[in-house]
Amino acid sequence: MQARNAIDRSLKVLAKSKELHPMKEMRILSPTAILGYGFPEDSFREGLRRDPHVIAVDAGSTDPGPYYLGAGECFTAGAAVKRDLEILLAAVVERGIPLLIGTAGGSGGRPHVERDLSLIRKIACEKGLHFKMALIQAEVGPEKVINYLRQGRVTPLGPAPALSEEEVGRSARIVGQMGVEPLMKALSAGAQVVLAGRCYDPAVFAAPAIEAGFDPGLALHLGKIMECGAIAAVPGSGSDCLYGRLERDCFEVEPTTPARQCTEASIAAHTLYEKSNPLLLPGPGGMIDLNASSFEQSGGRAVRVAGSRFIPAEKYTVKLEGVKKAGYRTVSIAGCRDPIMIRQIDELIGAVRERVTDNFRNAGLNFFLDFRLYGKDGVMGALEPQAVVPCHELGIVIEAVAGTQEAADAVCSFARSTMLHTSYPGRLATAGNLAFPFSPSDFRGGEVYRFNIYHLVEVNDPLELFSVELIDL
């Protein structure tokens, strides 16, 4: 009986997708900027009232840094992602429409996809939901990358250095950023819920539209705006819905809550966001050309965009992102309020560094030791434009990175105690140099990773790095 229901639902999805072809428009709902960032239920209901053909959501980013990809951890909390998924899954199952999730688990590696899959399984079981699901993995094995490298198919992206086989070998995890093609394959196989690993952000929004025959330039530009939820609206929000309506020669975007609006300026400006050049946005297989795009207010809260074009690349490339392990981190957090010490903080830190280096000289320890000085240049470091920053107190973060957690603990602890008791010229406060807000004063930061692959790989087939697996839930 359950199987029968599942088949019925799949047929309904297929019928729906067939019915799209003669359609003049495709309506897409983006619930939030990142799955797990949440959205008001009122906004979501308002979105459903517009009868979307598809709900799609981006679930990740490289912004939180290399740790999450390397360690296989998710930067979004499981409980928050589950809350969002419960609402989304119930809505798409009830309506028989597809749900596409890109860059599962934050980084889109295998453990990240698994985390989100386990949440989906749990919800399906708890709520008695049944649907056909596609899993698209995006991890790329190092041996595969080395093969591409030998064939001369790997080039650095932007300022990244050329890649060597040794560097690939050091990688803890590598993912490829899929374009629309694997998602389209999953949809045409009848999947209602598509859970994808690392994904070009606009792809989950554009794939169903391109599959239904809409213009890829408009579909991808629409996706580029929608992947951030209501961030492109005024006032902007990373935890609210954006509704998009794609026609044959233009699209419209509008926040679902009446409390926000899209303006020509907010939508045009959004295409700048996190990109190096706002007029040519490169992605898998080509770029979106915005040179002829127009942005026009349409009604009170919607903006109509036309003229965006997709320029296919001569060779299809996929972006690879990889990280390598760099050790373990321990940090100590402290403050200093003494003006006599603050005046000579650089000299004091120099003396502490010297003591730490000298103390571990024969211990065979390879370590990195750093002091962030908040109130001086803790935020901008080398880019800080102000030569002298007058401040009445300093926040100090002592950081040690070493080959093992114990070694990082030892270096951090020694640097902390040395800094606490080192004398300096004119010192009056001889009881201690640092104010610690916490006991314990030191914290283990765990594994440390560094980005080491940010390269394009030329593929023969947009699907060749990505496997699509169908599951019946």
Binding site: T62, D63, G65, P159, A268, S276, P278, M380, P385, Y454
Partner: protein, 110 residues
Amino acid sequence: METIKITDMVSVIRSKNSGPYELTFDVIFKSRADYERARRSGALKKERIAELYHLGKDEVLGTVWFAAALAFKATIVRPLISGDPGETDVYGAQQHVPFLSLTIPVADQT
């Protein structure tokens, strides 16, 4: 020469990672007149951005004017790859401050 503070002409000045290897700055002007004045003044040339951030000229990867958004954009090589040892701002969202001190000449442009 008479100048006007850039902070009086803009609605947005922000920085953000553009991938882990680049840092990108957006300046969005309040009006077409402000946008045109800043663009024609030459005050946001590549050399000036390099100077603001103590960089070599080749570390400023590009500057671009985007009329549809009344925006100027500059992209530089990140001082560190995002998250590398010594990192101070993993997302790159607080590196915009030197832009706040810019002034734009209000020369007679007729």
